[in-house]
Amino acid sequence: MTGKPVIVEIKNLYKSYRRGDQILPVLTDISLDIDEAEFLALMGPSGSGKTTLLNLIAGIDKADRGVIRVGGVEITTLSENELALWRASNVGFIFQFYNLIPVLTAFENVELPLLITGLPKGERRAHAEMALGVVNLTDRMDHRPGQLSGGQQQRVAIARAIVTDPSILVADEPTGDLDRVSAIEVLQLMERLVHELGKTIIMVTHDPRAAQMAHMIKHLDKGVLNARLQADF
């Protein structure tokens, strides 16, 4: 623990999937606290439940049992619609394959989450330009994803993730599709978001070098969590 307030609080979380007649446990009795402005890496072999845990924290999947509180809100009790609204203002998403909308420009992709906030056009533009400024891509705002490199696309995705000023960012293999140089750039950018903007980042990764950038690494194995604190934190 860092002594900062806890932003994500997970207690006795269980999650399983049904495959035919079989019930496959994915997460078993997970309890975890994540502090504000923490950079947490979740590691583990394939099928260990990393992405499932990330999805549960981000409110895009439902737990079987247990409690998840994010910023004091018990999201495990929220309905689908309430979760959608909650996600829109509290969580930013960074995906392995960027998941940008190919027909929209970088600016339009970043502006996308603001469309449901009810902000006027001028304010939306200001927010989107600011977010693109943070990732240093203002000069590429009129480019479509296909006209950008992988690293640039991921930076656009990060700008989209922070444009609503969420308290936590969840990243699922954010460097998994990038070359080494781009991956370092993206990780450094994420680190800046933690240090300069006070964002909490939870990152799932297979890459030990990416995990090295985090303050804390948690290992999941067969749905069970083991912690390891980074030496340099």
Binding site: N55, D61, A84, R87, F95, F97, N99, I101, P113, R160
Partner: protein
């Protein structure tokens, strides 16, 4: 950026697929519009019917005549304003393929009963004066290049021989629903010839046109006319002009039903085609919809995107189809004027086109939307990459 812009951009992601779908919708709406116009053309005579006109014919069948002597008796019935009569001539102009309606009629009262036939006063006077004259509709005259003063010869079928007529008048319809392809001449000319060649067929008419003083009186007057000639040698059947015209249409009702069915089948087929396009689109973008939902967009937003795209594509196709319907209908009207003297694209047809297009757009989007809205975000995201 506006959501409509996203819908627009999404619509043209697969340009060839979108183009082919739009083309399909355009052709379907064009075909649907033309078939609806054919049906309307079939009913054009009924639509043009007057509520204050009755037709009295032989109760056995229209092919049996009625005595001329009935005219005065009908005229004296209470509620009757005017009576005229006519006989189907069925003459052929040069060749059988040149079909048009031609009949003998008593001119003065007939034209008074049909005020929708507009004939210039000088031509009307010339027609009244000359027993061997005839009046042709504007479209008919245009079709054969007839002018005032031209002599037209019809070969009689019901009334044998070659019959010469001088065109003294060309009428125009008061509105679009009036048939401008008819040809009529003096019944007296026919009757005088019959007296000489076939006296047994003289002084007989095919039908009486009866104008009543008030449309509310049509039922009473009909009953009175038929009652008057009950148990006579030629019993009558009197009905409204609309019912009379409908009786012709009922003969070809099966064809009309078949055309209607075909028009609905066309809509059904294109509905399936657009549904297929939208299903492919939604399947390809299921990951994107998951991203939208991840970002906080609700099911209603995703539904809006899919419905919007589906409606956008169908409405473009429908607009092109509707625009093409008018020139296509003109060509159709020119080619088939002998069968469909009135072939106008009605406002109602356009409204039905638009409703059909909306129905196609909405129906095609239902299943893809259902899938996109129902899919769990985690499952949707798994489809990417």
């Amino acid at each position: 950026m506006h959501v409509f812009r996203l819908i627009f951009k999404n619509s043209f992601r697969h340009k060839l697929r979108t183009f082919l779908t739009i083309l399909g919708v355009s052709i379907a709406i064009l075909a649907f519009g033309l078939l609806r116009t054919v049906i309307s053309a079939w009913y054009a005579g009924v639509e043009a019917s007057s509520a204050s006109r009755l037709v009295t014919r032989n109760a056995i069948s229209l092919i049996f005549p009625l005595p001329l002597s009935y005219k005065e008796k009908i005229r004296q019935i209470e509620g009757v304003k005017s009576v005229s009569y006519g006989t189907w001539f069925g003459g052929i102009y040069i060749d059988e393929k040149n079909f048009f309606a031609n009949y003998a009629m008593e001119p003065e009262h007939y034209l008074a009963i049909y005020p929708e036939l507009i004939i210039p006063p000088d031509q009307r006077t010339a027609f009244y004066r000359d027993r061997k004259s005839a009046v042709a509709g504007r479209k008919l005259a245009d079709r054969y290049g007839w002018k005032i003063g031209d002599t037209v010869t019809l070969r009689g079928t019901i009334f044998p021989g070659n019959w010469e007529f001088i065109i003294r008048g060309i009428y125009q319809g008061r509105d679009q629903n009036v048939d401008e392809t008819a040809f009529f001449f003096h019944w007296e000319y026919l009757n005088e010839t019959m007296k000489k060649t076939a006296p047994g067929r003289a002084d007989q008419v095919g039908w009486y046109m009866v104008e009543v003083r008030n449309p509310n009186l049509t039922a009473d007057v009909s009953v009175r006319i038929d009652k008057m000639f009950k148990n006579s040698l030629a019993e009558t059947l009197t009905e409204t002009e609309k019912a009379f015209n409908l009786s012709f249409i009922s003969m070809s009702e099966a064809i009309i039903i078949a055309i209607q069915l075909v028009s609905y089948v066309i809509i059904l087929i294109i509905m399936v085609v657009v549904a297929n396009t939208m299903a492919m689109t939604a399947r390809e973008r299921i990951g994107e919809y998951a991203v939208f939902k991840t970002l906080g967009f609700g099911g209603i937003h995703v539904a809006g995107l899919i419905f919007g795209e589906s409606l956008f594509i169908t409405m473009i196709g429908a607009s092109i189809g509707i625009l093409l319907t008018f020139p296509a209908a003109r060509i159709f009207a020119q080619q088939l004027s002998a069968y469909f003297p009135i072939f106008n694209v009605e406002h109602e047809t356009i409204y039905i086109d638009i409703v059909a297009a909306c129905l196609i757009g909405v129906s095609a989007a239902v299943f893809p939307t259902w899938r996109a809205v129902r899919i769990r975000i985690a499952d949707g995201l798994r489809r990417i990459g």
